[in-house]
Symmetry: C2
Subunit: 586 residues, 2 copies
């Protein structure tokens, strides 16, 4: 667990002695909860106010009790630093996204046990994201926990069921706003998607909220943090109240949660911001002062990451957490001498450390020896264990086996695929024997058009560049090389770009990737792409290839989502369908 | 297109001359539609009544205009046979399930064009399942089409978002009941899931419905037809009205729609029933006679299929339509000499015909020659092209290649996987060279516990037995052998069952499959399975294996769903999670 002390309270040298220990809950229907509380008049001159600890942390999917124990530890530390409120991300108790673990029959009991653990924490209010299960169904909720009691809870009202999200598969919709009074302030609660809608924040303001706390599990996409900032600025300023926004952090299968938790003041200005991609406790204080709500200001803001830097970070974190959480100690990469595997190697080393990364070159009789030298040079530069394993005899053996059947047939794609599948078989054999996770290095451009061999270069447990277009591969490699004096990726691989795109569709990578991105990420239709200025025949060819190769992608390994629409949960097409690209004529 | 003439009208010899061509629509909010119609008083003494054609047909996903043309053809034929109402299945215009095709920007325009095609049909009312797109969003709807006009429409109110269904990803909920008067009867409309809820049918009855028409796209599961019959009997008798139920038919990716369309009378008795798994027009008539609603009765009901027979049929149809619709001309199966590939071969021959099926045996130095003889005998019995391709030199080549790295390591699972992956490479090479779709033959038991090699025996475009437990493999093989005098599957493969379950967990296939079925299909927890009478250590071992092998299943080919919960869309688990089998102690 990584907790950094970046306390920025106005008076954070001493834990406050006069913490209000009363929480006054106001909700439309949860009257039972309301009744259990003594009303606490709003103290307009509260000196103390809220001392908030924002727990931007990585909570492990499925480990309900472990997550509760982690919360206890974080809450205790925060309290000891003077916090009177700690906020955990959306569904932190179960991890996000838990998928069908939400259907396990023992979940309700585990959540109950987890709350028993949470109840051991004293003298700090905890806002805990958790799955709430009762006779009305399952809800995506936040609990107000204080001194051994659940004082109230709020159920998420807007359940995303698009993109990678399937929340209506699991959750019932919440129907009510929930606010509570604490430390002289009325706090309104929201969960993730609720904030993207206009009305929930507005209703909370109308019901008397002084501030809004919104808990989130918002996965990384390029440029998403700017969107979040714009959203927070809009919601805060249109309702004239500060918003506390906590996001989780870390990789979970193909998603990466990128943190970037924030506090914005009532004008929409960012007052506090946690770094991206790092576990971090962010401290802030909010209090009523002369009828004004004052938000403390962070002394030093984290440096904003550029588009390429944040993408590189996401790829590192996604790979790191997949390897770590799936229990592998090391990874294995087949180095082709090309740019994709070279970039994947550098990402793997940044994610896991050189001692956890093994590289192998698998040259055949058709391999240019220079590519092996390139691979070796890069492995040496990165201090990675490197083996050369020529596959000539394996390929010969297969040809020999097939000879009686293949005689008199001309060579075609079959032979290219055989070579690729022999490499896949070799990598899997090494993985089976020595226990490393095989990484594949196919990029999004190749996967899109099907320029990849099933069970060949697509073999592996994790595809590092699965959601990275070829043009972005160049950008990322350039970015990484600029971070150190000696380039970690052979420069000539970047500077002498391949002259042909996959399958020789075009001689221009950027043009191909733009067509793909319009079609895949932005859901443009055939006509709209042509209107955007591309040649009809080329567009037809590219889109047809995308459509025809859905069956390959269905068997592809997972990889980190970085785009608006990554292949897999984001984009669900039937393998078999007779949709025509062009709108047919009657 | 296969249309059988099973007309069972009371007076079906002549097309009726006095068809009422007026439709009077009643709906809560669609007042605009209501206003466009002249009210038509309910004719309590109507002689003609409804002459219904129930179009149990296979509509191709994505082929909007093609489906419309098919509807025109079916409607014209039905009208010429005397029908005044034709009913198509749920979303028939786009096919089901269309998945993200519903997000394509040109869909709305294609649907509009499709209606132009439908408007050419005269003198019969068509109830058309289609995606309705307007300023309020996208709806899963049924249109009332008559003489070149859309007279009204109903939007599905209950959108399934569980199991294989993701309808809330695409559709808005309908809010209103829709009824219309036609031929002296008031017809209430429902779509699929609406009928599984109690209130929609009840509300239609209260609003004056004489009968309910429910259009469906209900995928096959074992025993589902009995469930549907029980449901229809309940809804009909509790509301005292007949129900017309149309289901689609045919395979779409991993789903099979099994038809079995029905008409039940007001007591819940089945008056008409279409055969399962076949395209078929089912005719029925319903009329008011002396203030009683009379439903015609089918002279000869289809023979009910037993549990094993319907499952075998589902596997045949699922494979047939996947191959046909994906454009392959033939399939290739590696025959191991075992029961799984033998059963897969017989299913393939039943689905496609012997001339479209190619078998190959791929013996290694470790293969018992008897298994090759068995494979050859079966191929001969089924008139299937058969090749033996010994893989000794391919395996030797790979060992030779790996020797410098593997020397001094003991043999383990690696070598078994290499052999399996060489077979996968061979099958894919033959597929690449000769254009056949590779079928894999892994069963559900193996996939569940991970006793399958990625890129080896799991290689292929379609896994025939993916959702079939090993115990069911025996049942299906027995069933198929009893259909002909000479067994199509070597009898000794069935009569001398393998003495060990996968990975030697148990010596009892039935016990293993029962544990798996409780865990996977019925969502039992660890404790509940033990309470059901199984040994704790064995349950722990089995369930751990299921959990650990999610990553293999994620890269598996698709295969026909036959169970309550098939691997894939039905069961969505994170690859990485730290859920513990046993509920942990605090």
């Amino acid at each position: 667990m990584s907790i950094q002390n970046e306390s920025s309270y106005n008076n954070d040298s001493q834990p406050s002695e006069n913490l209000s220990t009363d929480v006054n809950l106001s909700t439309d229907v949860e009257k039972k909860a309301k009744k259990t509380e003594l009303p606490q008049p709003k103290n307009e001159n509260s000196e103390s106010g809220l001392k908030i600890a924002i727990a931007q942390e990585n909570f492990m999917v499925g480990d309900v009790l472990g997550n509760a124990r982690k919360m206890v530890e974080l809450a205790t530390t925060a309290r000891d630093k003077g916090a009177n409120l700690i906020i955990f991300p959306e569904l932190a108790l179960l991890g996000y996204p838990p998928e069908d673990l939400l259907l396990r029959p023992s979940l309700a009991n585990r959540v109950k046990l987890a709350f028993e653990i949470l109840y051991s924490v004293k003298d700090i209010v905890m806002l805990v994201g958790y799955p709430h299960i009762d006779q009305h169904g399952t809800f995506n909720s936040v609990a107000i926990v204080h001194n051994g009691q659940k004082k109230g809870f709020y159920h998420k009202q807007h359940l995303p069921n698009y993109g990678v999200f399937d929340e209506r598969r699991y959750f019932n919709k919440g129907q009510n706003q929930v606010l509570f009074d604490y430390q002289g302030l009325t706090i309104g609660l929201l969960i993730c998607e609720d904030l993207w809608q206009e009305s929930p924040a507005k209703t909370l303001k109308q019901k008397g909220a002084d501030i809004i706390v919104c808990i989130n599990a918002s996965p990384f996409e390029q440029h998403k943090q700017e969107e979040r900032k714009a959203l927070l600025a809009k919601r805060a300023s249109e309702n004239n109240l500060p918003i506390v926004y906590v996001n989780s952090v870390g990789g979970q299968d193909d998603l990466v949660f990128d943190g970037g938790s924030m506090v914005v003041d009532a004008t929409g200005k960012i007052a506090h911001e946690a770094p991206r991609f790092l576990s971090q406790m962010l401290y802030a204080s909010i209090r009523l002062d002369d009828k004004q709500i004052k938000v403390s200001e962070q002394k030093k803001m984290p440096i904003a990451l550029g588009a390429t830097a944040e993408t590189y970070q996401a790829l590192v974190v996604g790979l790191r957490d997949y390897v770590k959480h799936s229990g592998f100690n090391s990874v294995l990469i087949g180095l082709s001498g090309g740019l994709d595997s070279a970039l994947s190697l550098s990402i793997a080393v940044d994610a896991l450390g050189a001692d956890k990364v093994y590289a192998v070159a698998l040259p055949s009789q058709h391999t240019n020896p220079i590519t092996v030298q390139d691979a070796q040079a890069q492995a040496q530069r990165l201090n990675v264990s490197f083996t050369v394993c020529p596959i000539h005899s394996a390929i010969d053996g297969i040809y020999h086996t097939l000879e009686p059947i293949f005689s008199h047939t001309p060579a075609d794609i079959t032979e290219i695929n055989i070579e690729s599948r022999v490499r896949g078989t070799m990598l899997m054999a090494l993985s089976n024997k020595f226990g490393q996770l095989v990484l594949s290095a196919g990029n999004k451009t190749e996967l899109a058009v099907g320029d990849a061999t099933l069970y060949g270069d697509m073999a592996g447990g994790f595809d590092v560049l699965k959601d990275v277009y070829k043009t972005q591969v160049y950008e990322l490699a350039n970015y990484r090389n600029r971070l150190e004096e000696t380039p970690v990726i052979p420069e000539h691989l970047i500077n002498r770009p391949e002259t042909n795109t996959p399958l020789h569709i075009l001689d221009d990578h950027e043009k191909l990737d733009k067509i793909l991105s319009l079609y895949i990420d932005e859901d443009f239709g055939f006509d709209a792409i042509i209107e955007a200025g591309f040649d009809k025949d080329i567009v037809k060819r590219v889109l047809t290839m995308v459509d025809r190769n859905e069956y390959k992608r269905r068997q592809a390994p997972i990889g980190t989502k970085i785009s608006q629409k990554a292949f897999a949960k984001d984009r669900r097409y039937p393998l078999v369908n007779h949709w025509s690209l062009e709108t047919p004529k009657i």
